[in-house]
C-alpha cells in the first residue's frame, strides 16, 4: 500500500513540471482531399518544436509540447479539436483552414487565446484594432492578389490594360477572398477579369478549363488547395496553356501540386511569402537533432518541401513570439494572454533569422497593435520540372497597400459594427 502511495506521489511530482510546458496545438489534417498540403505543413511545424526541445531545451528554458489534433479540414472536427486542446493551456492556434479560422475568430477572442493565420483566414483580421486576437502576418490573400498583379505589371512593362486575366478559385470562403481585391485593381489597371469557381474538392475542372481554352485569357491566376491544384496544373497542361502565364497563390505552389503533371508543368509559377529549398543552416540542425534522432514527425520524407518550410516558418514565428512574450512579462512560463502580447510586439529582423539559421527565409517585419498583417511582401517562385525544384524568381516586393488598406478598413469596419467591437489600440 505504501509502495503504491509512493509511486503515485512520485508520478504526480514527475507529471507536475509537464503541466508547465509551453503548449502549441497543431490542428493538422493528414487525411482527406487536402492531406497532401496538410502533411508537410504539420511535419514542419512539429519538427521545429522538436528541434527547439532537443537543441535548446525548449523556449527560454521551458520545454514545448505539441498537441496534434486531426481536423480533416472539416469545421466540425476543428471545433472539437479546439475545445479539447484549449483546456491544456494552448498558446496559439494555427488551424491552416480558412473555414475553421472564421469559426475560431470570435471563440479565441472570447477565450483570450491568440490565433495566427499565416497567409490565410480572414484578410481583414490584419486590422488589429478590431481583431485583437487574430494575426495574419507576414502577408494576406489580398497582398497575394496585389502581388500577382504587380508581378504581371512588372513583366509587361507597367501596362496590363486590356489583358485578360482569369481567376480559377476554390468555391469557398478561401477562394472567394481575392475577388474583391482583384476587382478593385481591375478598376485601377484596366485588365479584364473573369471568374471561374471550382467546387470542393476540385477534381472536376473540365468545364472551367474548356472555358479558358475558348476565351484564351492572357494569364490565369489560381486560388486552389488540395487535389484541386494537381488537377488544375494537369488540365492546364492538357489544353497547352503556357505555364509561365499560370500563377498560383502560395497554397497552390508546392512540389506535390506539380509533380504529377511531369515535364508539362515546367515553368508554372506560384507566389510565396517565405523562401524555398533546403539551403539553410537550420536544416543541418534538423537533420542532426530531429531526423537522425528518429524524432521526425510523420514519415519524415517532406523535409525541405515548400509547405514543410512554411510549417517551419510558422513554428519559428510562434517560437519567436513566445520568446518576445517571455521578455515582456519577465516570466518563462507564459499564458495565452501573454503570448498575444508577444505576437503583437513581434519583430523579425534579418539578424534574428540569420541567428536562427534561416537567413533571408522570409521578409523582416514588425507587428503592431494596429497592424496584425505585417508588411505583405510577396515573392514569386517558379517550378523547374527538370531539376524538380522551386526557385525564387522575384524577390519579396511590396504590394498595393493603398487599395488593400481601404478594403481592410471597410471589411473590418463592418465586422466591428456587426459585433459592437470598440477599437482596442490606444
Amino acid at each position: 500500500m505504501k509502495k503504491i502511495f509512493v509511486t503515485a506521489v512520485a508520478g504526480l511530482m514527475a507529471a507536475a513540471p509537464a503541466m508547465a510546458d509551453l503548449v502549441f496545438p497543431s490542428l493538422s489534417y493528414r487525411t482527406g482531399p487536402y492531406a497532401a498540403g496538410g502533411i508537410p505543413f504539420a511535419d514542419g511545424y512539429a519538427d521545429y518544436f522538436t528541434l527547439l526541445n532537443e537543441r535548446d531545451g525548449g523556449i527560454g528554458g521551458v520545454m514545448t509540447k505539441l498537441l496534434e489534433c486531426e481536423t480533416g479540414y472539416n469545421t466540425e472536427k476543428g471545433v472539437e479539436c479546439y475545445e479539447s486542446t484549449k483546456g491544456e493551456g494552448a498558446l496559439v492556434y494555427q488551424p491552416l483552414s480558412t473555414g475553421i479560422t472564421y469559426q475560431l475568430i470570435p471563440k479565441t477572442t472570447a477565450d483570450d487565446i491568440p490565433m495566427h493565420t499565416m497567409g490565410y483566414g480572414r484578410t481583414s483580421a490584419a486590422n488589429g484594432n478590431v481583431f485583437s486576437h487574430t494575426f495574419n502576418y507576414p502577408g494576406t490573400y489580398w497582398n497575394g492578389a496585389s502581388g500577382a498583379v504587380n508581378y504581371l505589371l512588372e513583366t509587361n512593362g507597367g501596362d496590363i490594360k486590356g489583358k485578360k486575366i482569369a481567376l480559377v478559385y476554390h468555391n469557398s470562403a478561401y477562394g472567394k477572398e481575392p475577388i474583391r481585391t482583384l476587382e478593385e485593381l481591375q478598376k485601377k489597371h484596366g485588365y479584364e477579369l473573369s471568374l471561374l469557381p471550382v467546387d470542393h474538392p476540385g477534381q472536376e475542372q473540365k468545364s472551367q478549363w474548356l472555358q479558358i481554352r475558348r476565351e484564351k485569357p492572357d494569364y490565369v491566376l489560381m486560388w486552389g488547395w488540395g487535389v484541386m491544384n494537381q488537377v488544375a496544373v494537369q488540365e492546364a497542361a492538357n489544353i497547352r496553356f503556357p505555364m509561365e502565364n499560370f500563377i498560383g497563390i502560395w497554397w497552390s505552389g508546392a512540389e506535390h501540386d506539380v509533380l504529377s503533371a511531369g515535364d508539362k508543368a515546367n515553368g508554372y509559377k506560384a507566389l510565396t511569402f517565405h523562401n524555398v529549398g533546403r539551403d539553410f543552416p537550420v536544416f543541418e540542425d534538423i537533420q542532426k537533432y530531429v531526423v537522425d534522432a528518429g524524432k521526425a514527425a510523420g514519415a519524415g520524407d517532406q523535409i525541405g518541401n515548400v509547405l514543410y518550410n512554411r510549417g517551419l516558418y510558422a513554428a519559428m514565428l510562434a517560437a519567436e513570439a513566445a520568446k518576445t512574450a517571455q521578455g515582456i512579462h519577465g516570466t518563462a512560463d507564459i499564458t495565452p494572454a501573454m503570448m498575444r502580447d508577444g505576437m503583437e510586439a513581434l519583430e523579425i529582423t534579418e539578424e534574428k533569422m540569420a541567428a536562427l539559421g534561416m537567413p533571408n527565409f522570409g521578409p523582416s517585419f514588425s507587428v503592431s497593435c494596429e497592424n496584425h498583417g505585417g508588411p505583405g511582401l510577396v515573392g514569386v517562385t517558379q517550378w523547374d520540372a527538370g531539376s524538380k525544384t522551386w526557385s525564387l524568381i522575384s524577390d519579396f516586393k511590396p504590394t498595393d497597400m493603398e487599395v488593400i488598406g481601404a478594403l481592410i478598413e471597410a471589411d473590418s469596419g463592418s465586422y466591428a459594427s456587426e459585433n459592437n467591437i470598440e477599437a482596442q489600440c490606444k
Binding site: E68, T75, E83, P106, S172, E177, G298, E418, N419
Partner: protein, 358 residues
C-alpha cells in the same frame, strides 16, 4: 423482472395508450428528462457541450425529421444536407434582417420555411418512387448548395460567402455568438429536441402517422382504404422539412456560429443523417436518438482511445475511424437490419421475462 406489467393497472384509454405504458419504462423516461434538464446543465463544460452534446442534440432533431420521411412514410431522401442549409440560411437572413425578434421564433420560422421548400422538392414523389425519388432529392441537395453559393443575397454580400451568427439572447442569456455559456446553448437545443420528439411521437401514432405508414407499406392499398397519397406524402415532406430546418438553424446559429454552405451542408451531411436513422432504426423515435448518439460519439470515443490513451498517430486513428464506422454499418445491416431500436426492443422483451424465461 424488469418491465413487469403485473400490477400496473390502466383504468382509461388515455393511460392505456400512453407512450410508455410500462411503469419501469416511464420512470426511466422521467429520470432521463430530470437528469437532462436539472443535472447536466450544472456539470457541463465547453468541451462536452461543443464536442458531444450539441452535435448530438442537433443531429437527433435532423434524424427525427428524416425518420418521419424515410422511416414512417417510406420516401427516400438524400437532400437532408440541402434542407439543413435552407434552415441555416433562413435563420441567418431572419436574424440579420429582424434583430428585434427573439431567436427562438427565428428558428421556428426557419423550420417552417424549410418545410415549404421541402414540399416543393417533394412534389416529384407523387409520380416517382424509390431510387428515382432518391435521385430527385439528390438534385435538391446540389441545387440548394449551389444556390446559396451563387446568390450573394443569401449571405448578405459578404466577401467570403460565409455566414456568421450575430449574438442573440433568450431571457437575457446569450445563446448564439462567442460569449455563450455551455449550459445555455445546451438547454436551448435540448428544449427544441424534446419538443420535436414529443411532436414527432404524437404525430406518428395519430392519424397522420398511420396514413404515412399505410403509404409506406403499400401505397395502392392505402389509396383504396381512403388515404389520400397527395396529402399524406406532402404532409410527410412538410413535417420532415420542418424538423430538418430547425436542426439546420441550430447547427448554424448555436453550434458552429459560422458556416460555409458547401463544406457544412454538403452531400456528406445527407448521408450522415441517413446513416444515423439506418443504424438507429427506421420508423422509430428512439432509433433517431440512438443513431445520432452512436455516430456523434463513435468518432470522439475512437479519438480519445486511439490518440489520448494509446498515443497512436492522429492520421492512423482518423483512417481507422473510417474503417470502423464502415464496418459497423455493414455489420448492422447484416445482423440487425432494424437498427439499434430493434436491439433495444429485443433486450426489453428479454428483460421482461428475466431471470425466468419459461
Amino acid at each position: 423482472m424488469f418491465y413487469r406489467e403485473a400490477g400496473d393497472f390502466k383504468t382509461s384509454y388515455a393511460a392505456d395508450n400512453q407512450t410508455f405504458p410500462i411503469k419501469f419504462d416511464r420512470m426511466g423516461y422521467y429520470t432521463a428528462l430530470v437528469i437532462a434538464f436539472l443535472v447536466v446543465p450544472f456539470i457541463i463544460n465547453d468541451y462536452w457541450a461543443n464536442a458531444i452534446l450539441l452535435p448530438f442534440l442537433i443531429y437527433a432533431i435532423a434524424a427525427l425529421g428524416l425518420n418521419i420521411l424515410v422511416g414512417y412514410c417510406g420516401q427516400v431522401s438524400l437532400g437532408t444536407g440541402g434542407f439543413m442549409a435552407v434552415g441555416a440560411y433562413a435563420c441567418y437572413k431572419l436574424m440579420t434582417s429582424m434583430p428585434e425578434v427573439n431567436i427562438f421564433f427565428h428558428i421556428i420560422i426557419s423550420g417552417g420555411i424549410t418545410g415549404l421548400v421541402c414540399v416543393l422538392f417533394g412534389l416529384p414523389s407523387l409520380r416517382i418512387k424509390g431510387f428515382y425519388l432518391a435521385v430527385a432529392t439528390l438534385a435538391a441537395q446540389f441545387f440548394l448548395v449551389w444556390l446559396f453559393n451563387r446568390v450573394p443575397w443569401f449571405y448578405n454580400y459578404s466577401a467570403s460567402g460565409q455566414i456568421n451568427a450575430p449574438e442573440r439572447s433568450v431571457f437575457g442569456i446569450e445563446v448564439t455568438g462567442p460569449n455563450t455559456e455551455a449550459w445555455a446553448t445546451y438547454l436551448f437545443c435540448l428544449v427544441f429536441l424534446v419538443a420535436s420528439a414529443l411532436i414527432a411521437r404524437n404525430m406518428t401514432r395519430g392519424m397522420a402517422g398511420r396514413k404515412w405508414m399505410a403509404i409506406r407499406d403499400m401505397d395502392i392499398a392505402a389509396e383504396i382504404i381512403g388515404v389520400n397519397p397527395l396529402k399524406a406524402k406532402i404532409s410527410a415532406f412538410a413535417v420532415s422539412g420542418f424538423f430538418v430546418g430547425i436542426s439546420g438553424a441550430l447547427f448554424f446559429s448555436v453550434y458552429l456560429g459560422a458556416v460555409e454552405v458547401g463544406e457544412a451542408f454538403g452531400i456528406n451531411k445527407s448521408f450522415l443523417v441517413l446513416f444515423m436513422i439506418i443504424i438507429g432504426g427506421l420508423g422509430s423515435i428512439f432509433g433517431s436518438f440512438a443513431g445520432a448518439a452512436f455516430l456523434v460519439l463513435l468518432p470522439v470515443v475512437l479519438k480519445v482511445v486511439g490518440v489520448d490513451w494509446l498515443g497512436w498517430p492522429t492520421d492512423m486513428v482518423a483512417h481507422l475511424q473510417l474503417v470502423i464506422v464502415g464496418g459497423m454499418i455493414v455489420m448492422f445491416l447484416i445482423l440487425e437490419p432494424h437498427g439499434l431500436a430493434q436491439l433495444w426492443r429485443v433486450t426489453k422483451q428479454k428483460l421482461r421475462l428475466w431471470p425466468f424465461p419459461h
